[in-house]
Symmetry: C2
Subunit: 402 residues, 2 copies
């Protein structure tokens, strides 16, 4: 049911085909984030027109609202959300990290939409506060961010939740660490993640109907020996795919190094997923290092604040509410073929944002997602034709010249 | 360029064809409200798929944001908002009424989404306060609701604004009265509206390029002799179409009476537009009395709060956040063919509203607009086949049985 076919390689960059119970994914692929069983502000028809191949929803969020039992009764997540293509669910490990140690340490992860925060090394200060989580070897107890109710996740329980949701690719429960954790704690958490991975896999094997694929998660923070140890250990367990999670250091350079340590140790014949990373300017970098799948909220989150991806502009983006777009008749990006760019001017989009019209957010979301998908199509084509390096240089020059 | 063809009549109900510079409108027709150059939460493609024939934008709102000059520079309103079908603009008379006397009197108009307010006779208390408007015979001075800047509208100035916007059908500036105004003030305001109508028509004739059609507005509040006098006067001026505006009394029955006094006095060979009215349960009533066009925010506004139109249910609507829809696998309306009903369950829509996802609003908007359009298609067909009365009775029985 689930298999990965490698079509071409250029350096570490790979082009392939991932077959799932709900269809094919051409890799490398962006995975659109649909945390609460919807990609924010986009309909399924929008996503199909954009060319989105796969969506990742979130077991933590869907467990709290509306609950996995309800979704199962409604025929599973595909049917519930009207998306009949490939679907993943994240385990909630990162969300529990956000409620727990991230709150304690006042840190977040690369992917902030605010440039000044990204420049500080990829971590932003979130409001510090009392952690809402208690982790022990058996699992994790946490307090719902919605209503304060107490919940318990174990590796087995998360598999059960994800089986009820019924996505094509599911992730094991892991423990994410913060860049402020020291070596010793990071090792302790990694070893716990490994024990949880074994338990999750056992639970999965004893209950799976073979329609779902289970991905293991490599942890180990920003420490080379831990990342290597984790990559070797998780690889040896025979998962269907491999994800890279947790703290990837304090800068984009740290993140690239973590990928360079980890990916060569993962099996060549399985897909690799980078969790929660993929700013427009990261994409070429992570694909170059061998990533097949990555999910990131940046395109949709930026859209909601009027930050639109372009081929030119500072950091390849424009802030549409800027007064200079007031009577700009051009589309967001003159080479873009998306619905928004085919039909609307920057002046109109700016008006919609200024007038606080919801259509602003839909149109911006469509553009940003299309922009990323369009880059992914170019990347896949370039790898297959052996000119990925060329594409990478072209794009870098374009962005430096702007 | 602009003409109206009467195809069939059953009692006062009429089916016809309205030819505009941007295409045909089959009447009777719902006019979708696109105040700020967008129908809230719907894209142009959504509207085309739904079957929306015509949109009404607002000269007052667009004058303030982004300004008629900017829209003119961007190629006019059609091009600016990407809608290439028939388009109207309202003059802003009602918005000025809202800033002025409606504030003073603490009244609004039929069309509130809150049933308890509608039951009180179609008027709701809005926050009373100091009026932001000063009306004199020359025109009206008002303070922007956005930034407190001072503006002046005269009948001539409004024509100029609407010519820059470039809609196919435009409305003259009128003075709306409140149901709390006495007979004498209502007469004074009506006579001023008549003088303004003459000035607007003169301005229009001396500047028109013949692509636009100008509609006069009948006023006169809830007083029979004033409504009749106004209908006769405005009809005698030779406008391209006739709108019915202002206070239509304190209940739906008052409104129906106003239509019965007014419409028989309007020319048969011109379209009649009822301004700002058209709850789902009003539609058959107003069409029966000879209305060809009507605009109403109710379908889109109700959508944003999760109130969805159905063939059954109390008052032909359901409140989707109600707990009883939690695991209801049915579409909103089992006979509806809209995108939302073809793809999503009540359970999913409820989840989206509970999770505060923007997609909730888009999907609800699509459904409510489609529901109204679908009723309009049935009505047009029934009038042409001489069975409008039958349709009216069927729908009444369905709604009483539910």
């Amino acid at each position: 049911m689930f298999s990965f076919e490698l079509l071409a390689k250029e350096g570490e960059a790979r082009a392939g085909k991932l077959y799932t119970a709900h269809g094919l994914i051409e890799t490398p692929s962006f995975v659109a984030v649909g945390t609460q069983a919807t990609v924010k502000a986009a309909s399924v028809d929008d996503l199909l027109e954009i060319g989105i191949q796969v969506i990742i929803a979130n077991a933590y969020h869907l467990h709290l609202l509306p609950g996995e039992d309800l979704i199962e009764r409604m025929g599973g997540l595909h049917r519930f959300m009207g998306w009949h293509g490939p679907l993943m669910t994240d385990s909630g490990g990162f969300q529990i990290f956000s409620l727990g140690v991230a709150k304690e340490h006042g840190v977040g992860k690369i992917g902030s939409i605010f440039p000044e925060e990204r420049d500080r090394g990829g971590h932003f200060s979130s409001k510090r506060g009392k952690p809402l989580v208690r982790i022990d070897d058996d699992g994790v107890e946490f307090i719902s961010h919605l209503d304060g109710s107490v919940h318990r996740f174990t590796p087995e329980r998360v598999i059960e939740i994800e089986q009820k949701l019924g996505a094509d690719m599911i992730l094991v429960l892991d423990e994410c660490t913060s860049p402020l954790h020291d070596y010793n704690y990071t090792r302790t958490a990694m070893e716990r993640t490994h024990r949880w991975a074994i338990r999750a896999l056992e639970e999965f094997k004893s209950t799976s109907d073979n329609a779902q694929a289970l991905f293991g998660i490599v942890q180990g923070g920003e420490y080379r020996d831990l990342r290597e140890e984790s990559a070797r250990f998780i690889s040896s367990q025979g998962f269907d795919g491999y994800a890279i999670g947790g703290s990837l250091g304090r800068s984009k350079e740290d993140m690239y190094r973590v990928l360079e340590w980890t990916i060569p140790l993962l099996p060549q014949d399985k897909p690799r997923h980078l969790l929660g990373i993929g700013q427009a300017d990261d994409i070429l970098e992570v694909v170059e290092r061998g990533v097949d799948l990555f999910d990131c909220v940046a395109p949709t989150r930026m859209a909601r604040t009027g930050t639109l991806l372009t081929r030119e502009g500072e950091r390849s983006r424009i802030h549409i509410v800027n007064a200079r777009f007031k009577d700009d008749p051009r589309p967001i990006d003159e080479e873009c073929d998306c619905y928004t760019c085919r039909n609307y001017s920057r002046a109109y989009l700016r008006h919609l944002f200024m007038a606080r019209e919801l259509l602003a957010i839909s149109l911006a979301t469509i553009h940003n997602l299309y922009f990323v998908e369009s880059l992914m199509r170019q990347i896949r084509c370039a790898i297959k034709e052996g000119r990925f390096k060329e594409l990478r240089e072209e794009r870098n020059i374009a962005s430096e010249n702007s």
